[in-house]
Symmetry: C2
Subunit: 453 residues, 2 copies
């Protein structure tokens, strides 16, 4: 514990495919497929198109790595930038509850881009991604709740996750990996301020984490040095960006606890903070056979983080912002029994959604807040038109490790996301599914959707 940054670096540099339990390898494949769906679903979004246009002005016109947004090949840096920007748009990528961190969006895009550039195998890719998850999630846990009140952990911890994944592919030794972590930490960024304006920054945060992390790893390979204690040092990330940073979290059961397998799939197409309440509302409506018109109010009993992130969104103006509106999410559940992508596309300006939205309030709940972020308990109190007060509760939302998605469910989700707005064809999705289910035996990850000219 004298030097947790170095312990993390040593673990990441030394991780071997054989060290990774089979269920973790399988879950990594699950998450990669899930992420491909998210990238494709986000690829037509306007901010992602803008990022693609920027890449078009700055990037090489050809290269080894696939840009799934522009359907072109370029250098790894810009492929990672654009794919990472796309991965988080539809809010359907994974989340680690304890770290409040979305690892997939910042780990898979840079790892895939570099794997394609260096001709890495499926096993090398899996090993690198697992290393990125294990480090990034622990960094998120280390930075703690005070960090997440102002900083978007996926942007900050994400930069280190990306650096480690790319660093493992580049076969950095432990010293180089520590340098990569140092460089990544000193360029880590992402603030929540954009939420108030429904601005596009979330896409910038994932793109930035992917590219800054990649840059840190490549520079380390060249001998470029970084701070040796960027996480726990007196002028490091913990000191500058957190009030409750806990270095013990950085090295928590490294090599025996696999945090990748603790991540949750997202079932609803909204901010994760809305999911427990959405599942609890769904449960109480199912249990009591309620219809939307039976309900006159819903109180959601939430943790403080939900209030911090969702509280400012009282009158959503964009589809993206509506995914951060607790009232809108619960309205879709009540009206359609599903808060999926198509539902959000139609929610804005829909009078029935807006009427239900205004019936929903959030209240801080001690039990829920104390359990968070380790457990995301959903609790709602529903008042009915005929005067009943009904409680709904879920202890583990759909998609969490104890209530996870099966491979057919993941395939189904990938197909829905991957074909959203015509991003890919059914045949392309079939091909992706087949390759990912055989990922650990793939000799190369080249030409997933874009063949070399």
């Amino acid at each position: 514990m004298l030097h947790p940054s170095a312990t993390l670096a040593g673990f990441a540099a030394g991780l071997k495919f054989e060290d990774i339990p089979t269920n973790v390898v399988g879950r990594c494949e699950d998450l990669f497929l899930d992420t491909m769906g998210s990238i494709l679903a986000g690829s037509s979004a306007k901010p992602v198109r803008s990022m693609g246009s920027f890449a078009g002005q700055m990037a090489p016109a050809d290269g080894p790595s696939e840009d799934f947004v522009r359907r072109t090949r370029t250098s790894p840096y810009f492929a990672a930038m654009v794919n990472a920007a796309a991965a988080h748009v539809v809010e359907q990528d994974d989340v680690h509850n304890g770290a409040v961190f979305h690892p997939a969006a910042v780990v898979f895009p840079p790892a895939l881009a570099v794997a394609q550039a260096i001709g890495a195998s499926g096993r090398e890719f899996i090993t690198a991604c697992v290393a990125g998850y294990e480090v990034g999630i622990r960094v998120g846990e280390f930075l703690g709740r005070s960090h997440y009140k102002i900083f978007h952990t996926t942007g900050t911890a994400g930069t280190l996750a990306a650096a480690v994944a790319v660093g493992r592919l580049l076969k950095l030794d432990a010293d180089q990996m520590l340098n990569a972590i140092g460089s990544a930490g000193t360029t880590a960024a992402g603030l929540w301020e954009f939420l108030r304006d429904a601005a596009d920054s979330k896409q910038l945060h994932t793109a930035h984490a992917a590219t800054a992390g990649m840059q840190a790893a490549y520079l380390a390979k060249e001998g470029f040095t970084g701070a040796q204690h960027i996480l726990e040092g007196a002028q490091g990330m913990g000191a500058g960006m957190s009030d409750d940073a806990n270095p013990e979290k950085l090295v928590d059961r490294l090599g025996s606890r696999w945090t990748l397998a603790e991540t949750s799939f997202k079932f609803h197409a909204s901010c994760r903070h809305t999911h427990p309440a959405a599942d609890a509302l769904q449960a109480v409506m199912r249990e009591h056979g309620l219809k939307v018109d039976d309900i006159v109010s819903v109180v959601t009993h939430v943790h403080q983080g939900a209030i911090d992130v969702l509280g400012p969104v009282t009158d959503p103006q964009t589809v993206h912002q509506s995914k951060f509106s607790m009232g809108t999410v619960l309205a879709l559940i009540a009206l359609r029994n599903s808060a999926d992508l198509a539902g959000f596309d139609q929610a804005l300006g829909d009078g029935s959604v807006e009427r239900f939205r205004d019936l929903v309030t959030m209240e801080l709940d001690k039990e829920v807040d104390d359990a968070y972020p380790q457990r995301w308990i959903g609790k709602v109190t529903v008042t009915t038109r005929d005067g009943r007060t009904l409680s709904g509760r879920v202890d583990e939302p759909k998609g969490d490790p104890g209530n996870t998605l099966s491979r057919p469910e993941i395939e189904d989700k990938t197909r829905r996301l991957g074909t959203y707005q015509g991003a890919a064809t059914e045949q392309e999705i079939d091909s992706i599914i087949a390759r990912v289910w055989a990922l650990r035996d793939q000799e190369s990850l080249d030409a997933i959707l874009v063949s070399a000219a």
Copy 2:
């Protein structure tokens, strides 16, 4: 004052060449020439070569913008990355005392790269750079002293300075400029932790500020939105990265106070925090005709920021770290009457330097600390072998606005830096000097050193 970020954005978007006082235009030319010297002097440094190698793997092999490190042309993004990495290496670029911010290293490289890409004139370039200075310096002042204790303001405020300079070249309107500021602020980064290890992060910080700022501006041109209150908002930079952020500083006398003309040239090749004491020691030695062997101790009376930044450097292991060693800097003054680049190259491992270094201590001084950062007072107390206690004092160090460099002095400094380790030839420096002194009348900034193929 309801929306200072928007006021800043409106000012930057609306700034015209005709609005800028002639002396500020002249000082901008001075600073650009000074920066070209710094870029060339830094171009052979190992971390800069590493950055160039990274660009070589990720960047287009040709383009409109000059990379002075690899002596090649590429896209503006990578030209800015590599030139900005080079600009701050030798610690001879400018500084704004009040903001404790080095604007030149993060403003000129991205502005030049984009000016070359879009065919901007000298006047458009000057206008853009002035806008970048005025915004970046005020952001540094806004973030305050608590920010600088942990964050490298040149990396953080620098990202906004770069975004505004590029944004002005791209002719962003006020709304787009506010979006650019939002995107820049949410990717702004840079921590001091690296100093403890003499790591290469300072070069990464300037490169990162230049590229993240450029990306923010280009994205804004494409319609990509950013937080509207990234500076003063409840989850913005001030909230997350400072304890004493003062929004009034953001709009302090915009349009009448020209902070660019308040910046200082660096005369010594060391961290700016050492300069006042270096000048004070020089003064007391000159006044009393002291030789190095006459001195048995030097107490430097300094501000807290000097102790924070220089204090950890007790036994410098690299040339770069020695520039953050108060003792080493004062040893060079005592031994050579100059702390220039060549002096530092020879200082490491020199017994006479190390002996004098150990005679030097720092003490917090109330007068100096209270005046900082508006004024950088230098005060030393020298004890002599024959038992005298002598005081040295300077109220304005060499290079500060009230004690500035003349154009011949700037030419001389540029020639020394530009030819350092053979970076450029004397003829090339002559050509650069001639072009910069005619900057406001140049129709284009193309082919300063690297002609199109």
